[in-house]
């Protein structure tokens, strides 16, 4: 859980970083430039396979953990009471992860599948754009346009994205610091720092992601 989780955390930084290029508000030019770089780069495409494997592994590990832990207490307590210190989200990682998974299915349907398998039957091909000289005037996927399409009309989609980001935030609030504990790092001075960085990271990355659909919906970027 820890290794795959930390890998996913690192991925999210890159993902959020590149997506933030939309806030240049230049009609998606910078964003599409980087989007194309990521999509056409051999190293990145190889890492993408790793990412998918790690995501899958993380889910499988989570399911195994959930199953073994359920077996470990066959008879439940009739009454349970919280101690006031244990965090609800720490005890709800499986639930939060499942919410993220549901979100991810929708998210892949919106972006990843059309961008990777756009030419196949029943999958709407993406609009294309010409970025100019440096790409020999070859058209590339206009992922910016796809974002606009997905986010500009449908309020339900925006709500789903924001809820997805909220689930992610809680999942990371526990996950970030938990991964360090898993690897044996629990230090009088550094653990409070790790916990603070974890909260900043979780809230920051989730706010950043959530702001994107919201910005498109309200026409803050166009």
């Amino acid at each position: 859980m820890g290794a795959t989780g930390l890998f996913l955390i690192t991925f999210l930084i890159v993902h959020a970083g590149i997506n933030s290029m939309i806030f240049f508000n230049d009609g998606g030019e910078t964003f599409n430039h980087w989007g194309h770089f990521m999509g056409s780069n051999f190293i990145i495409r190889t890492m993408e396979i790793g990412l998918m494997l790690f995501l899958l592994l993380h889910i499988v590990e989570g399911l195994l953990l959930w199953r073994q832990n359920k077996i470990a207490r066959p008879v439940k307590y009739a009454v349970t009471r919280t101690d006031g210190k244990t965090k609800w989200y720490s005890k709800s990682m499986g639930l939060l992860g499942t919410l993220i998974l549901i979100f991810l299915i929708m998210h892949f349907y919106h972006f990843w599948i059309p961008s990777r398998f756009g030419g196949m039957a029943n999958i709407q091909p993406l609009a294309e754009i010409t970025l100019g000289q440096e790409y020999n005037n070859q058209p590339v996927h206009n992922l910016y346009k796809e974002m606009q399409n997905v986010f500009s009309g449908n309020l339900i989609v925006i709500i789903f994205y924001v809820l997805g980001c909220i689930s992610l935030c809680w999942h990371l609030m526990h996950g970030f610091q938990s991964a360090f504990q898993t690897f044996g790092v629990n230090h009088k001075r550094y653990t409070p720092i790790i916990k603070a960085v974890g909260v900043l990271y979780s809230v920051g990355i989730s706010l950043l992601f959530a702001s994107m659909p919201v910005a498109f919906y309200f026409g803050w970027v166009n």
């Binding site: 859980m1 953990l65 073994q68 832990n69 077996i71 470990a72 207490r73 066959p74 008879v75 439940k76 307590y77 009739a78 009454v79 349970t80 009471r81 101690d83 006031g84 210190k85 244990t86 965090k87 720490s90 005890k91 990682m93 526990h174 610091q177 938990s178 504990q181 898993t182 690897f183 044996g184 790092v185 629990n186």
Partner: protein
């Protein structure tokens, strides 16, 4: 603290033996003194049951002074009841008031099978200790206190870890039924001291293997164990055990 008396309703888990299907029974106790301990209140209830010709409630207890770890009761949704860093035997009736209903359940864990009523079998812990919670040399006569120099901080941390009384509350309270706090404490108390050094790798590997074999759940770092441990054992011990375990995995090839 003002002395008062109370009448209480108790809902207690009754189960004839490991195979039987258990259920809650409701009992009333009257004129319980606020100065009684929780187990003394149970003694009163049991005498009452015996006089009524019913079978008394089986529950574990031994020292009744918070040091042996035997008293295992899940009281109103919390291991060892409502007081922090406290055992059931040290819980006193002033924690309750007249008219309260108290629900008492046994530790719930696959690795702690119920023997009878509130009594569970915690020998899984003993087998984990047998797998490596010791050093394999005779200690001999008491030597000079400073014959082996030990860092003060490490000595203190080892002492804090050694405060674990093996009660199993960490397992009982954990949503995953994980025994990591107990095993973390037992590994730490030896790993921190020079005498524990020579066997540290095999100890970590063997104790963890035994823990998994016993069917305890996996730790997901919710830290409920630390919040509920009667001895305040810190989850830093779990991190230390993870470090020992990962390190041992790299250090040994013959295991």
């Amino acid at each position: 603290m003002e002395h008062y008396h109370m009448n209480l309703t108790l809902k207690v888990w009754r189960q004839k033996n490991n195979k039987a299907k258990g259920s809650f029974e409701t009992y009333k106790v009257k004129e319980i003194s606020s100065e009684m301990s929780f187990l003394e209140m149970f003694d009163v209830l049991n005498e009452q049951l015996i006089l009524e010709g019913k079978s008394p409630i089986a529950f574990d207890h031994d020292c009744r002074e918070g040091i042996c770890g035997m008293c295992s009761m899940h009281i109103n949704g919390q291991v060892h009841g409502p007081w922090a860093q406290n055992t059931t035997c040290q819980l006193h009736m002033r924690a309750f008031k007249d008219g309260d209903t108290i629900v008492v359940e046994p530790w719930r864990s696959k690795a702690f099978p119920i023997v009878k009523d509130l009594m569970v079998n915690r020998s899984a812990f003993d087998r984990i200790i047998e797998a490596g919670g010791y050093i394999s040399v005779n200690t001999g006569n008491a030597v000079d206190a400073n014959a082996i120099p030990i860092d003060k901080k490490k000595a203190d941390d080892a002492f804090m870890a050694a405060a674990c009384i093996g009660c199993g509350a960490c397992v009982a309270t954990c949503i995953n039924g994980s025994a990591m706090l107990f095993v973390g404490a037992k590994i730490s108390q030896l790993a921190l001291l020079p005498q524990g050094g020579p066997e540290r790798e095999s100890r970590a590997l063997n104790m963890v293997a035994q823990m998994d074999k016993e069917g305890f759940g996996n730790c997901t770092n919710t830290y409920a164990c630390e919040a509920q441990c009667p001895k305040g054992i810190s989850v830093a011990n779990i991190a230390r055990m993870n470090k020992e375990y990962i390190g041992a995995g790299f250090a040994t090839e013959e295991n």
